[in-house]
Symmetry: C2
């Protein structure tokens, strides 16, 4: 069975894997993502180190192509990373560079596109052709499947759902605007609200304060999710609030796009039903035309942090190897 | 050259035409839309009357297929009108009924889809594959072109942009929600604001009051547009406000969908640049990632009220006649 290499370039790690035609990861390698002060070539070196390690260790069929998923704006022809917030890349011609270095055909795509593709081919979206993926990390990333194809927009920048405005004149976003969805539904939003409760010394936040050893700044998303799983009422309320905002944005996307399925991925989605159930309740209350139409399903992603890597490998497979 | 019939079922008129392979209307006919208290068969009779008149008058090549665009929810398989706000249709199997009655293959679609298709094939969107159409009538209708294909969503209900929430807890909408976009950017919004200025007896509204003969309820959208064209400052400000809100919603859609072009149709778009320029200004100020990406263009529709009819005829052509 043929294999390809998938690379997922995140804010902290560059993860790679050799992936087969069933989406299984046969070999893994990873490195820290170089600091964004380093020049672009250093990121290339890091990717090459991951690929070289994979090739050295992998004993099966030689990988025939390389797929790279990167957090950032990827051009419509998928040759260039226009902008990557965590890296020094600006209009980086990544496809040609890496193709030259690896001697293999290379496919580049946005990390959210790669993740949705993986969920479509091997995960939660399998068998569904009209899908919206929402990745809740520090912010909101996203992707869109229309008729079984990734819809990337004219310039490759579709799926920036996190910057749709949900509160006019709301919280300031890093993008420069106010009231962006990701200010209300994301890991950052969850942590911000939890920290402010701890900082206010609310008795409701005593469990969270204990877990953070009294230091609001030490509180993390996983701590909150863990407290919620252990039954802490405040942590559950905070997750439900993020879930409610998730449902509000989903209602807007459902009005515009009418998908059959919303797949929720990213770190915050580890909270599972504590997040998804409030989102479903909000969607049921806010979907336009409710009562006259089917309501899209909201489910958690199934491939977890591997989705980007598997999807990148599979996009390279589809582009360069065809349906084998 | 082969011909097809296009039918546009609006809230007040059923318009029909014989359309050739270049999108030209060779013959026209129309009737009043039956009141929604009348049974479904009456609408069918009306459509048949339009078709019969067209066939009787048309002297060229016999039309080979019929396309029908209807304001309402059309099922994903485009056989059924699920719900039409102006008509008595509920789950009306329109395609089969009309195919039987006309003895010709029939295509049914949402009126906004038909309009976008017409603009894509013969109008403002010609040559563009990633397009969002927004029709500003009493409310907001819309459609989406992805890779040169209409994206209808899983259940055929995509493009209900008017019911995306832009103001949390905002004005109540007929759909039951609050703060829907069409409450701020539509013909209804324009008239509501103008009437309230006249009713408040603001000296700024003296020109509008004169045109409405002092009766706020007599004020119409076309009166406001005409006053704006004649230079009335208040009418211009009111249109600019609707245009500003138009731009806010467009910024959200641009973040999600990254189209190259927004085509603005519907009755309110007759205001032209008085509406579009403020929308462009708002988009330039609010597009996420501005400065790092191209800004989508915002243009007026070119086919006017004929778009639905031409698009319906052409969709029937593409489906049943192929590329002739």
């Amino acid at each position: 069975m043929s294999t390809t290499i998938g690379i997922d370039i995140g804010g902290t790690k560059v993860s790679g894997g050799v992936v087969d035609a069933r989406g299984r990861i046969l070999e893994r390698a990873r490195r820290d993502t170089p600091d964004r002060s380093r020049e672009p070539a250093v990121v290339e070196e890091t990717i090459m180190a991951v690929i070289d390690e994979l090739l050295a260790r992998h004993e099966g069929v030689e990988p025939e192509a390389v797929g790279i998923g990167a957090a950032g704006f990827v051009s419509a022809d998928r040759g260039t990373v226009v902008f990557a917030p965590h890296l020094s890349w600006r209009n980086e011609p990544l496809r040609d560079r890496m193709s030259e270095r690896t001697g293999r055909p290379v496919t580049v795509d946005n990390d959210a596109n790669a993740a949705l593709w993986a969920e479509y081919r091997y995960g939660a979206a399998h068998g569904h052709a009209e899908v919206v993926m929402i990745t809740l990390g520090t912010g909101i990333g996203g992707a869109l499947l229309v008729a079984g194809h990734l819809a990337r927009g004219r310039y490759g920048l579709a799926g920036e759902y996190g910057h749709m405005q949900v509160v006019r004149g709301g919280l300031r976003c890093e993008c420069g605007n106010k009231g962006c969805w990701e200010q209300y539904s994301s890991g950052n939003a969850l942590v911000r609200e939890a920290r402010s409760m701890v900082a206010a010394q609310s008795p409701l936040a005593s469990e969270l304060a204990t877990r953070a050893k009294g230091d609001p700044a030490a509180l993390t998303g996983p701590m909150i999710t863990e407290a919620a799983r252990d039954g802490d009422r405040t942590a559950r309320e905070l997750l439900a609030e993020v879930g409610d905002w998730l449902g509000r944005g989903i209602a807007n996307l459902a009005a515009a796009l009418d998908p059959e399925l919303f797949v929720i991925g990213g770190g915050v989605s580890a909270a599972g039903e504590l997040l998804l159930e409030p989102a479903r309740e909000r969607l049921a209350k806010q979907l336009t035309g409710r009562g006259y139409r089917p309501v899209a399903r909201i489910v958690g992603a199934r491939l977890g942090p591997d989705a980007g890597l598997i999807g990148a490998a599979d996009l390279a497979r589809v582009e360069h190897l065809g349906p084998r």
